[in-house]
Symmetry: C2
Subunit: 513 residues, 2 copies
Amino acid sequence: MEHAASATETPIRFETHPSRYVHWRLEIEPPLARLVMDVQEERALRGDYPLKLNSYDLGVDLELADAIQRLRFEHPEVRTVIVTSGRDRVFCSGANIYMLGSSTHAFKVNFCKYTNETRLALEDASQHSGLKALAAVNGPCAGGGYELALACDEIVLVDDASSAVSLPEVPLLGVLPGTGGLTRVVDKRKVRRDLADVFASLGEGVKGKRAVQWRLVDETVPLSKFAARIAERAKALAGRSAEKTGPGVTLAPLEGKYNEQGVEHRSVTLAIDAGERVARLTVRGPEDDEPTMPAAMRERGSALWALRAFRELDDALLELRFNRPEIGVVVLQTRGDSARLLAVDAALEAGKDDWFVNEVRQHMKRVLKRLDLTARTFLAVIDKDSCFAGSLMELALAADRSYMLAAEGGPKVALSAMNMGALPMSNGLSRLGTRFLGGGAQPFEGGRASIGRTNSAWPSKSGRASLRTPLRAWRRTCASRARRPWRPRSSAASPPGRTGSSSARTRWEKRAP
Amino acid sequence: MEHAASATETPIRFETHPSRYVHWRLEIEPPLARLVMDVQEERALRGDYPLKLNSYDLGVDLELADAIQRLRFEHPEVRTVIVTSGRDRVFCSGANIYMLGSSTHAFKVNFCKYTNETRLALEDASQHSGLKALAAVNGPCAGGGYELALACDEIVLVDDASSAVSLPEVPLLGVLPGTGGLTRVVDKRKVRRDLADVFASLGEGVKGKRAVQWRLVDETVPLSKFAARIAERAKALAGRSAEKTGPGVTLAPLEGKYNEQGVEHRSVTLAIDAGERVARLTVRGPEDDEPTMPAAMRERGSALWALRAFRELDDALLELRFNRPEIGVVVLQTRGDSARLLAVDAALEAGKDDWFVNEVRQHMKRVLKRLDLTARTFLAVIDKDSCFAGSLMELALAADRSYMLAAEGGPKVALSAMNMGALPMSNGLSRLGTRFLGGGAQPFEGGRASIGRTNSAWPSKSGRASLRTPLRAWRRTCASRARRPWRPRSSAASPPGRTGSSSARTRWEKRAP
C-alpha cells in the first residue's frame, strides 16, 4: 500500500515564523515589503534531494504561505509585497523535480493543491485586503517559478541575455504545469491562446520585448534600472489601496499537541482511528462571551475564537492531508453554545469594515475552502450537544453528507448572516446557495428568515445516537476493496452509498431539504 | 505502439441512413417522432462482445447521431422526439463494458467524446431548432443510458418495482461516468449536490417518488398510464416550438472515396502521410456561384456548398479521430475564390431566419466545434491560392498555429458576419473573440470593420512556400520520443515549439496580432 509508508515518515508541521524561515527573508519597509527567495540547497523538507537553483519543495512553500498570512494580520501598513529572488542569475526554477520524482502520487496531488492555495492566498490578499504583489523577476523564471509570478498583480522581468519566463513542463517533462500556470496565462493575463500554446511548448521560454508583447510580463527593464523601476511600480501599486489603521495583530503559536492518536488544539481535536481509517474532527465554539466591538476584537488578537479556532481547523486539515493519508472518512462534530456562536457571527458581520475583522472573515473563508477541497469523505454529525450554528453550520454544509439525531428536544441548527455569502466556496457562491441551486429562492429565503434563531425544522424522534450504518458501510467498502485486484488511491477513497436508504437499526436521518 | 494496431482494424464509417439502422427505429408522426432503441446483441460494430440489455457501442451511437441530424434537416415538421426503448424491462444499460474493457485508451477517449457530442447535438437541437426531446424511460436506465436521458429536455420514468435511474460507475466500476452524467445532474437538472453525491454512489439507483423529489426525473407514471402520459407531455413540449414551413431537405450520401492514402470528397480532401504522421486536410470553396435566397438554397438541398462541404469536413475529422490515430499533425489548407465564399456567408447571414439556413449555420457551428475538440495539432497554412475567408477563416482561427506566406501580392484573408458570433466555440464566444480576449475590443472592431473585404494586413515578402521549419521540428519530436522510455498517447501528441522562432530558411511567418 502506497500510503502505508507515510506512517514511518517524519510528520510535516505547518506552523513557522519569520525568525525561523530557512528559505525566505521577509523585509518590511512600509508601505512596501520584500519577500526574498533564497532557497538553501541542503535544507530539503525530507529526503535527500538538493534544492538547486531556487527550486522549491513543500518546506519552501509553507514559509511563503506563512509570510503572506503574517503580512495580512501583522503588517496592515504594508500595501505592496515585492516577490523576488536573493540569488544571482535565477529567480526561481519551480518545484524541485527530484522531490517530485521521488514522491508518491498522493503527495504530489496534495503538494500541487497546497502550493496553488498559497498562490490563491496571494491573489485573495490583493482582492480582499488591498495587499498588492509585484513579481520582480531578476533572473530566469521557470515552471512553478513563473506560476508564482503569475499569482502576483504585476510581473517585471529583467531584460538581459538569459532571463526568460517559461513553462517548460510540456517540452522538457511531457506533463502539464501543475499549479495553475496555463489557467493564469490564459484567463488571468489573457495571453492569446495560440501564443500561449507556442509559449507552453518553448523549453527556453520567452524573454525581452516578446514577453511583453505576448502579455507574459508587464514590463522588461535592464538590470541597471531594475531596482529603481521596481520601487517605482511597487509604490504606484501601493497607492491603489487604502491605508489601514494599525497596529497589526501578532499571530501567536497554536500550541497544539501532536501524537499518534491525533492533534489536540484548544478548540479543535482531530482523533485518529487508523485501524478503521476514520478520524473524528471536533470543533468547539467559544468558551466564554467573545468581544463584539472591532477595537476589543483587535485587542484580543489571535486569541479571538474566530481566528484561533479556524487556524486550528486549518492545521488539522493539513495534518489530515499530509500526515494521515490512510484516513478515508472524517466525522465532523461540533460542541458549544449556539447563542454564543451567533453572537460571534453578529460581531463579525457588524464589524466587517474594520480591517482586522475583515481579515478574520477572509481567513475563515479560506479555511472552509481548504475543507471543501480536502479529498476525504466528510460526514457531519448533528447530535445533541452540537453547535452547528452560523459559521460552524458551514461545516455541515461543506460535508459530503450530514446526519441529524432524530430525538425529542434534539439538536437544533441555526443560520446567521455569515451563511449568506460571507464565506463563499471556490465557485463564488455560498454553500447554502450552492445546495439549493435548483430549488429556487424558497429554501434560501427560509434560511434567511431564520437568521439568528436556532431551529429544528427537521423532524425529531427519540433515539440513541449512532453512526453505525454509514460507518459499517464504510467498513464494508474497505473490506471489499481489500479483496479487489485494484485499490483506489487514498485521496480518491470514498464511502459507500447506502446511507441514503432507510434502516431499522439507525436512529439517524439523512437531513431532508 | 498501442495505436499501430488500428491499421489492421476495419475502418469505421460514420455515414448511415434510417433504412440501414440496425439498433434504432425512427418513427415519424408529426409533430412527434419516436426514436426506439432496440440494440441487436450480435451486431457489435467490431469485436465479439454481445450488446446485451440495450447497451451501446459506437455503432449504436452513430445511428443515433444520424437520426438527430436527419430529424433536423429532413423532418422540420417534427417538434418533439420521444427517446425510448423497444425492449421489455430495460431502457438502456449504458456503454457496453466489455467493449470498453477491450478498447485502447485512445479509442475510449474518442468514444466518450463522440457520444457526448451526440448528446450535445440533442441539446443543440432543442435550443436552436425547436426540436424538443422527451426521454420515455420504460425500464431500468443505467450509466450511459441515464446520460442519454439527461440530454433530453424532460425525463419520465415508469413507476414499477424495477425501473430506476442510476449512475453506477463509481460503486460498480470505480470510475466516473464518462459522458457528462455528473455535470448534467448538477448543472443542468440542478440536483442538490449532496443528493447527487449519494445518487452517484448507489449502484441500484433511485426510483419512484424519490427520483422525482431529487429532481433526477420529472415525473414517474405507472405502466398502465405511461403511454398516454408520454403522448400528452410530448405534445405539450411540441407546443412550445414554432411550426416550420416544410418540406424537409434530404441529406444525400456524400460519396467519398476512402483508401489507404486518405479520403477524397468533392470539397474536402484528407491526404495521409503515415510515415511522417502528418495529414493534409484541404477544404475547397464553392466551384460556382451559390444560390443566395433561402428558397433557392432549400432547392439546392444537401448539394448546397455550405452544407455539403461541412458534412465532408465532419466526416474527415471523424476519419482522423477513429481511423488514423497515428497522425499527430494536420496541415489545414483551403482553396477557392474568397469573393464567392463571402457571398455564401452573406446569404447565410441574410437568410438566418429561414429554418433551413439556420440548420446549415448550426451544422457548420457543430463541425467547427468538432474541429476545436479533435486532439491533433492543426497548422493552418495561408498560402497563395488559399481561401481563408469568412466561415473558412474559422479553420485558421481554430488551428493551433497559422502560417501565412510572406510574398508580394501574396495571400489575403477576409472576415464576414459569420466570424462575429454565428459559429461560437464551446465557451460560447466566437473564435475571434476568444483570440483577442486580452486585447480589448480594438482588434475585434478592426475585424468587424473589414467584414466582406479581403485584406492582407500582415506584411508580405516574396518567397517560396515551405512548411519546412514546423514540420522538421515535428519530425525531431517524433524521433526524440521514439528514443524515450515512455510514449505519450497519440491523442496527446503535440508538435514541438520551435515554430515561433525565426529561421533564415523559412519563408513563412507566424501571424502577428
